[in-house]
Amino acid sequence: MAGEPVIRLQGVDYSYDGPPVLEGVDLEVQDGEFLGVVGPNAGGKSTLLKLILGLLQPRRGRIEVLGRSPEAARRQLGYVAQYPSFRRDFPIDVEQTVLMGRLGTGSLYGGWRRGDREVVRRVMVETAVEPLAERQLATLSGGQLQRVMLARALACEPRILILDEPTANIDLRIETDIFDLLRRLNRRMTIIVVSHDIGFISRYVGRVACVNRTLMTHHTADIDGRVIRDLYDSEVRMVEHVHH
């Protein structure tokens, strides 16, 4: 796991016109790492991801991704958002949706190239959505849609894959399938995944970042799931105390 950090945050503060959401956040993510991000609702997990993606600008501190600014590195990141930022009833099929991941890899104008279609075919097979290629998004189940979103992110051929609660509202069997797939993908890319279920993800990730305004990381190898849960709970209590 030791190597060049692919993501580095130093003393990052962020607030949406109000009290700070993140304060003094330091984080280094190594190349090839599988990092879980956990914490209470509104604790700043999604905000952390959006800062790394360059969708938000920190109020203070530095963020480097792949040695560059988040905006400059963004095309090498794949992102699966917590809530789809599109309408489910948009007239588009699965293959066209996944092809969107190829935007920004070649010329902006004209049509898709053969290479784009080959990449898309490959990632659709990998995520098991190939049989759905011609289905409309509106006809997919929640689990199928989540796989399509993952396929779209993989079509970017990212060096770092970032997922925000990819398995919220999905049943456990499919959640296990998706995390097994992430484990395989981790052999070739760095993965950061936000989850509300630390007990579940600690079976997969190498390190957990607990985010609740501040950030602390723990190696899952050092401590078992029960201890992490205790740590997590104590942090929540600590922060509730701070908010008084």
């Binding site: 963004r74 990141l77 958002a81 599109f86 489910r88 969107m100 935007l103 104008y109 929640g142 970017c156």
Partner: protein, 281 residues
């Protein structure tokens, strides 16, 4: 109906009207599909009404009203698009302001122009029977601009319509293509004003595409079907209005509106027979 066909063979002005309707349908099918899937009907309405300001100023200065319409439509598209990009919270209020102020400017300038009464009704409600050769050439040119731009930027417009955040993450200059899309909507509005006038534009822009969306499920097919439907409605409206001498623009809109309602009922009937088919998660 046969009287319409006889007249069509006989009268030059009717042939031109028909050609104008067909030309307008191309822009209407292409850009109407974006307006429907991106749900920017209200913005398109704002652009259409603001056009009166440009027409009024052009008339007052003795220039071609269509040129004024085109400039005003583009300015309105950039203003309204800029409003959405920067002040999203007050979007609908600000679009309403642009809409009303544009019309008010138009009315003031037209009232200061001698002999305005003749023209005002045809700008507001269209008069395809009066379409000139020059207007037809302009319409063909505007169609070409829309067609070529859509062909070049199809993927980008699809990306910006479908998922702006993802497009931004892929390095697409979202604001630029969003404004370009609105400018093409503006160009299409000017095309359609020839046929149905600026008040009824929004119906012709959205109804064919909305009907197409009932039956096809990709943006490209939606554009094709919406163009064909637009052609059908303009030709049918023109034919129906000819003998009883009804206003052609209003007749075209009624044909389109009735077709939309019929299509909704038809779809409801199909869905009723196959429960669950149209249910959406």
């Amino acid at each position: 109906m046969s009287a319409f066909l006889d007249a069509l063979l006989q009268y030059d002005f009717l042939q031109k009207a028909l050609l104008g309707g067909l030309l307008a349908s191309i822009g209407c099918g292409l850009m109407g599909s974006y307006v429907v899937v991106k749900r920017i009907g209200y913005m398109a309405g704002g652009i259409a009404h603001t056009v009166l300001g440009g027409m009024g100023i052009a008339l007052f200065l003795g220039l071609a009203p269509l040129g004024g319409a085109l400039v005003a439509a583009l300015v309105a598209a950039l203003l309204i698009g800029g409003v959405r990009l920067r002040w999203r919270q007050q979007e609908d209020t600000l679009i309403g302001v642009v809409w009303a102020v544009g019309m008010a400017i138009g009315i003031l300038f037209i009232s200061r122009t001698p002999g305005y009464n003749v023209n005002l009704m045809s700008y507001l409600f269209g008069n395809i029977l009066m379409v000139t050769d020059r207007s037809l050439w302009l319409m063909a040119g505007l169609d070409l601009v829309v067609l070529v731009t859509v062909a070049l930027c199809y993927r980008l417009f699809l990306a910006v319509s479908f998922d702006e955040e993802f497009a931004r993450l892929r390095g697409v200059p979202v604001a630029f293509f969003y404004l370009l899309l609105l400018c093409l909507v503006a160009v299409t509005v000017v095309l359609l004003i020839q046929v149905v006038g600026l008040i009824l534009v929004i119906a012709l822009l959205t109804l064919p595409a909305a009907i197409a969306a009932h039956y096809v499920h990709s943006l490209g097919r939606m554009m094709l079907l919406a163009t064909l439907l637009g052609m059908l409605f303009t030709v049918a409206g023109l034919a129906l209005s000819y003998e009883p001498d009804l206003p052609s623009g209003a007749t075209i809109i009624l044909v389109a509106g009735c077709s939309y309602v019929l299509s909704l009922l038809l779809r409801g009937a199909i869905a009723g027979r196959r429960p669950g088919r149209w249910r959406r998660a």
